[in-house]
Symmetry: C2
Subunit: 451 residues, 2 copies
C-alpha cells in the first residue's frame, strides 16, 4: 500500500446545527415514514381523478379535492387564488401510420404535442428527417415544402443527470413546428423526449411563433423512431396522420394555497403543480410534488411547529403549458407587497430525494451547506448551485434576493414516465415518496430558522 498522504478526515465543514435540529428532523422523518399520508393522497389524486390537464374538468376536480384535503388538516388558512389559464384539448382522433417503398405499413405510437392544432382530416406526405432545429434551419423552403418534418434528436445517454439530456432535446419539441412551418412543412413529428427505447409516446408543450402558419405536431415513441430511422435508410417513407386537437379560449382556474401563519411578515413558499398532461395519471409529474408539498405542511402542523415566517404551500395550476400559475402567483405576491424570502419546489418526480439544487448566490449555497452533515444523516447529500423550478421561477423577477431550492431527486427513471400513458401511481414507490416529503419538510424547517 502506498503511503497515505492524507491521514485526517478530509471533509471539513462548519456545523451550525444543534441537537434540537437533529431531533426535530428525526421526528419529521418518523412521521413521514410511519404515519405518512403522502402515498394515500397521491393514490387518491391519481386514481380518483387521474390525468388533469389545465382547463379540464379533472383539473377543476383536483382544485376542489386539494382544497378539501388541505382544509381537513386545519391549517391557519386555506384558499384559492384565481388565475386565467390556456385551454387545449386532444380531441378524439389521433392516429398515424408509415408506409415504405416496399409497401410495408406500421401504425405508430403517437401523441399530439400540447398546444398543437389538428390536421383537419387525414394528411399524407413524405417524411423528411432532420436531427435537430439547427439542421432544419439549414434547409431551403424548396427542400421542406409540402413534407412532414421528422425531428430525430435522441437523448444523450452519456448525460448522468437525465434533465440535461432532456434540455438538449427540448427545442425539437418546443420550436420544431414553428421552424418547420416557416419552411413550408405541413406537419412535424418528433422522437419522444425519453430515456428508454420503448413503445410510449411522450407529449409536452410546444408553441407557435406569432408570424408562422400553425402546423400539427406530434411525438412518436422512441421504438418507432428507431424503426423509422431504419426504414429511411432504405428509401422514401410516407406518413399518414390525423389529429383533431384544438386550442380554445383561456379559462378561469386556481392555485390552491394553505398556510401556517408565522411570527413575522416574511413568507416561505413551496409547492408542486396540480395540473398534469392529459395522459397517464400525472403521478411523478407532478402528483408526487403535490403529495410532497401537502405532506410537508401536514407534518409541520402535526409536530406543532411554530414558524418564524409564514409557511405557505402552493399547489400551482398550469405548469405544463403556460405556467400561468407560477407567473400569476409571483405577480400577485408583488402587487400585495408580500415579503418572499425563500421558495422550494418539487417537480422532478417521486423517486429517491438526493438533496437540493440551490438557485442563489454563493453565500446562499453556503447557507444551505452548513446543514450538509446534518442532512447526510438522513441520506441527503447533494446541495449544489442549480435550478429551483418552473413554478417558483417567476418570483425571482420580483424578489431577486430570495433563495430558491429545487428538490434534487434521482433522475434516472423520470423520463421513462414523463408526459406519457406510463406515468401512473403504480410506478411510484411508497418509501421514496415519503422520504421526499420528509426532505422537503426538513428544508422548510431549516430555512425557517436560518433566514
Amino acid at each position: 500500500m502506498k503511503k497515505l498522504l492524507f491521514p485526517l478526515l478530509l471533509l471539513f465543514s462548519i456545523q451550525s446545527f444543534t441537537q434540537t435540529d437533529s431531533t426535530f428532523i428525526r421526528k419529521i422523518y418518523d412521521e413521514a415514514l410511519e404515519n405518512g399520508e403522502s402515498y394515500q393522497n397521491l393514490k387518491n389524486l391519481c386514481k380518483d381523478i387521474g390525468a388533469r390537464i389545465t382547463g379540464s374538468a379533472e383539473a377543476e376536480m383536483a382544485v376542489k379535492w386539494s382544497e378539501k384535503l388541505l382544509k381537513s388538516y386545519n391549517f391557519d388558512k386555506v384558499y384559492l387564488q384565481e388565475i386565467k389559464v390556456p385551454h387545449w384539448e386532444r380531441g378524439t382522433k389521433e392516429a398515424a401510420w408509415i408506409t415504405n417503398t416496399k409497401g410495408e405499413i406500421i401504425k405508430l405510437d403517437i401523441l399530439a404535442l400540447g398546444g398543437s392544432v389538428g390536421t383537419d382530416g387525414l394528411l399524407e406526405a413524405e417524411i423528411l428527417m432532420v436531427e435537430d432545429i439547427e439542421s432544419l434551419k439549414k434547409l431551403t423552403h424548396q427542400q421542406v415544402e409540402g413534407k412532414i418534418v421528422y425531428l430525430n434528436k435522441a437523448f444523450n445517454q452519456k448525460e448522468i443527470n437525465t434533465f440535461r439530456a432532456y434540455g438538449a432535446c427540448y427545442p425539437i419539441r418546443g420550436n420544431g413546428a414553428s421552424e418547420a412551418g416557416k419552411l413550408g412543412a405541413i406537419a412535424v413529428i418528433i422522437r419522444s423526449l425519453a430515456s428508454p427505447t420503448d413503445n410510449f409516446a411522450h407529449t409536452g408543450t410546444m408553441h407557435y411563433d406569432d408570424d408562422v402558419k400553425k402546423i400539427p405536431a406530434a411525438a412518436i415513441s422512441t421504438q418507432h423512431a428507431e424503426l423509422l430511422n431504419e426504414w429511411l435508410k432504405n428509401g422514401k417513407v410516407n406518413l399518414n396522420i390525423e389529429m383533431d386537437c384544438s386550442i380554445y379560449p383561456d379559462v378561469t382556474s386556481y392555485n390552491v394555497i394553505a398556510e401556517i401563519t408565522g411570527k413575522d411578515a416574511q413568507i416561505i413558499t413551496w409547492g408542486g403543480h396540480l395540473d398534469s398532461w392529459d395522459v397517464g395519471e400525472g403521478a411523478h409529474d407532478d402528483g408526487a410534488g403535490v403529495a410532497h408539498s401537502i405532506e410537508a405542511l401536514r407534518i409541520l402542523k402535526k409536530l406543532n411547529y411554530q414558524p418564524q415566517h409564514t409557511l405557505r404551500c402552493v399547489l400551482f395550476m398550469n405548469e405544463e403549458n403556460g405556467n400561468m400559475g407560477g407567473k400569476s402567483y409571483a405577480k400577485i405576491a408583488s402587487e400585495k407587497n408580500e415579503k418572499h424570502i425563500c421558495a422550494i419546489e418539487s417537480d422532478r418526480g417521486g423517486f429517491l430525494p438526493l438533496g437540493f439544487d440551490i438557485s442563489g448566490t454563493s453565500e446562499q449555497v453556503a447557507l444551505v451547506n452548513q446543514y450538509a452533515n446534518l442532512l447526510a444523516n438522513f441520506e441527503l447529500y447533494r446541495f449544489r448551485k442549480g435550478y429551483g423550478g418552473v413554478d417558483i421561477g417567476p418570483l425571482k423577477e420580483f424578489y431577486p434576493e430570495m433563495i430558491q431550492l429545487g428538490m434534487a431527486i434521482n433522475s434516472q427513471q423520470y423520463f421513462d414516465y414523463h408526459h406519457s400513458h406510463n406515468d401512473v401511481f403504480e410506478n411510484v414507490n411508497k418509501r421514496e415518496l415519503e422520504l421526499g416529503a420528509a426532505a422537503m419538510a426538513a428544508m422548510i424547517y431549516l430555512m425557517d430558522k436560518t433566514l
Copy 2:
C-alpha cells in the same frame, strides 16, 4: 434574512485527483452508458437461466454461462475455482392455510425458508404468536409444546436505510426454528423480511443449532401477516402446512474468476454472487452484482487500462446459504500466499448507486474520501465507514489490513424484491444498473492507482 455567518464555501476537502483521473472516469461512464453490456448480460442471466440456487442445474448453467461470457472478452485469465457447497431443494409441495374459530379459511402466501426440513405430510396445530426471539425465549416449554410458533417482527419503517430494518428482523428467520424447536414447537412461520405490505413471501437462509430437533420453517407474506394478526385478536387460529423441502449432501460447484494481470503481485478483488434463491430470477440479488462486476472488468479492458495490480473479478457461488464461495476463496488465497490489498462487493441490487461503504481504518476512509469531490461529479456522494459484503468478508481474517468497499446503493426498494418471486429482470432499470457498473469500475481504477 438573518446575517449569514459562514460566507465562504463550507465544504473543504483535499483534492488529490488529477484531470487524467477525471477524464478516465468520464470514459468509463461513457462506455457504460452508451455501449454498456451489463443490461443485456443481466437479461440473459435472468431470462435464459433464471433462479439458480446453489446445487441446482441452473447454478451450474450460470457457472458455464459466465465462464463463456468472460472468455469472450479476452481477459488475461478466466478460470473456475472448485468448491464444496450445500444442497437444499424446495421440493414440489408447499402449501398452508389458516382457519379461525368462525370457520373462516385463507390460503397463505408462503415460501419455505432455505435450509428448512419438510413437514413429512400435512401438519396442523394452533398458532402461537410472538414478536421476536427475545419474547420467544421468555416462554416455557409448556406454553410452546405442540404449537406452531409465528414470529411476527415487522420492519421498522422509520429506518431510512432498509438494511438496518432487515438486520433487526434477521434473527426471526435465522434462529426462529432452533429457538422454537428447543421449546417443543412443531413448526415455525415468520412474517416475511420485507419493506412493503404485499402478497409476496420472501425466503432466505436459516440454520438449525446442532442440539435441537429440526422443525419446518416458512415465511408468509406481509399482507397475510397483517391478516393473521387481526384474526389472532379475535381468538385461536390454526395453521395447516405441508412442505417437502429437503437437505441433501454437499456437492461440487465453482467460483468463476477473470483477471487482467497487473504489474506487481498485489491483487484487487471484486465481485457479486452468481447463486440466487430458487424463486424469481435473482435479478437484484445478485444478478445485478454479477452484471456490475463483469461490466467493470469489460470496461477497463475496453479502455485498454494497464493496471498496477492484478484486477480480479470473482463471481462467487453460494452467498445465499452458506457463503462457501466467499469462505473458500479467502482460504485458497491465503494458502497460495496471494497478496490481497482491496476488495469491492456489489450485493445490494441494481438500483441507483450512491457511493461506497468502507470497511477499514479511519485512514482508509480518508483515502477514499480524497476522491469525494471527483466522484460527486458522477453523482456519487456517500463514502462512509460501513460494511463491505458477505462474499469478500472472509478475506479480512487473512488480510486484516486490506480495505474493503461495499457499493452503497439506494436501498428503498431492495426489500420489495429480495428473495421473492418478484425479483425479476423487469424490476431493474437499465441506466441505474449501468451507473452501478461504472461506479464499480471507477472505484477499482482509483484504488489501483492509490494503493
